[in-house]
Symmetry: C2
């Protein structure tokens, strides 16, 4: 089968940073599905792994953690899917990624593709949806209110991929007031279109803006530049509030949260599958729930621009764009040449 | 009335670091009780505030956040207590402390003194009990299990004041396996006597010791030297586990917790009263629950050594001992000279 992979971490400007390769067709065993990949999307995690992970001697690193496709065969323990089913999923960081014609994935982290979306639109959703859903409902437990009148959530970096889903899920599945940050008119319009009640600027200090709004957020979900915002978050968040983050600040001083007994919640959407936790099937369920919300017209996909067929040249172009930190919405790629 | 107070932060070796003073008798209004103080205990927070807080011009700083006494009069909104009631409580950091003959405290953070304890024994309990209870049941939510077979909690610094209550509460109110750390035979025996199932050494790396035990803790409660243990905690804690801390590490790098989606929980027992949260009456309820457990013989007080009457000389001696970091159990003082 065809795939895109590499041997050693290199700058994305190198032609061998991602290359077209032929690999053996994998075989589904146990809880695995063998999925024929129809479309993928590219996330910041792809570029982070590409810069740091080296292949084992004689091996390859195959990136990609977002896909939509069709089940071709199933392992002997599979009960949730059958060949022919259309699926979408993100996969797991410690196995081969989705940048290949065929791909193995544990059924318990796979959802039924939204019927109302084509494969390309669907491929943009899984990683961001899992991250946003798990942060809101598993980590921050936003349905368990903070004591007092603090029924609001601040989403920092509101126009990003995860935030774009988080804002919609918060509006559809909770009664929270949603405040999102942006820094440009185009992103302010975007987060409003997703349902944000209020938009504040992450280029300006948060405390003054929240004072003007008259809102004390019980929950804060920071998706980017958390180290720059942490002091302001500690100042505005409610006593006993909950603060979640997903980015990789080089330093994060959490001491300012002590006086308010605030908790700090990490979300990594790979935790359940990497550790094989007893509740990993929750990812199957939440993806199905997201698909239902999409089919009901309540959540819109954030697929933005197609970079064309799945090959090394187009993926290098996508990585370069992701590394520019100016991407709005998700970059997707669809099918293999002649596929 | 008599009180112990000071004007400017000074080293405890200075005779004016804490002095005997006469202050006006306070008057109970609103939700306040006026309590005649019968006994107090001394906590690390006293020494921290003494080193950092300066009195307003012409004013005094009155420390002390642990007391047992008798209600003398009540404010007009008080419903939970009446004059003559025996009470125990910690109070709040932004009002005068308990080092005085008479003291004002909001009824919603006061409990009925355990009937089976004298005032001196009771005074040792409130601050540590509130901290331990809130961490276990409000912050870590230990009754909400971590997905998987992770029904255990590690208590670091097991022989300390808060840990000594936390171990007992965990044993009495949950079915968790309790692992406590100590570093000396005498403290190992102490934490076992409180109910710890296993004792490990905080002078040795935690991962090897937990590997030997075959236990993956779902919960970790670190009461001291958290910065030294944080890497080991991240290594041993369960995926999706919850980690709580109460000390003041100069730096705390929480990034090692990301891969497991672990949450970090601060507990400050002053949060509810300082911010006047809508649930501050929970402290009244939990103190009553602790008193019932004490009277039922299920929790023992950790009062250790009486430093005699409440006066500046004895309190300076108590502060010196706390600052030595070698205290086992709680230091208590009882009554005023001639009182």
């Amino acid at each position: 089968m065809r795939a895109v992979a590499y041997e050693k971490p290199q700058d994305i400007t190198s032609e061998t940073s991602l290359v077209d390769v032929e690999r053996p067709m994998p075989e589904a065993k146990g809880h695995d599905l063998l999925v024929e990949i129809k479309a993928i999307s590219v996330n910041p995690v792809d570029t982070k792994v590409r810069k740091s992970r080296e292949a084992a001697p004689g091996g390859l690193v195959q990136l990609g953690w977002d896909a939509a496709g069709v089940v071709k065969s199933v392992g002997s323990n599979v009960t949730l899917f059958k060949p022919g089913d259309e699926v979408f999923y993100a996969g797991v960081i410690n196995r081969d990624g989705t940048n290949a014609e065929y791909h193995l994935v544990d059924e318990r982290i796979v959802g039924a593709k939204p019927r109302s979306l084509n494969f390309t639109q669907a491929a943009a959703l899984p990683l961001t949806s899992i991250t946003a859903y798990e942060m809101l409902f598993e980590r921050l437990q936003v349905k368990d209110p903070i004591p007092g009148d603090f029924r609001s959530i601040l989403v920092i970096g509101g126009a990003g991929g995860v935030s774009s889903i988080a804002i919609q899920l918060a509006r559809q599945l909770t009664d929270l007031t949603v405040i999102a940050t942006s820094s440009r008119p185009v992103t302010a319009e975007w987060v409003k279109s997703l349902g944000a009640h209020h938009v504040v600027s992450h280029s300006q200090p948060l405390p003054e803006q929240f004072k003007a709004l008259g809102i004390t957020p019980g929950f804060v979900f920071s998706t980017t530049h958390t180290d720059q915002h942490v002091a302001g978050i500690a100042e505005i968040i409610a006593p006993q509030g909950r603060f979640g983050l997903i980015d990789d600040p080089s330093e994060l001083n959490v001491k300012p949260f002590k006086g308010k007994s605030v908790s700090i919640h990490w979300e990594s959407m790979f935790t359940r599958a990497v550790f094989g936790t007893s509740d990993m099937i929750e990812q199957h369920k939440l993806l199905n729930q997201v698909a239902d919300l999409v089919d009901a017209g309540k959540i819109k996909t954030t697929a933005a621009e197609s970079y064309g067929k799945i090959n090394a040249a187009n993926l290098r172009r996508a990585h370069r764009q992701i590394e520019s930190h100016t991407t709005i919405g998700k970059i997707v790629l669809e099918g293999f040449q002649g596929g």
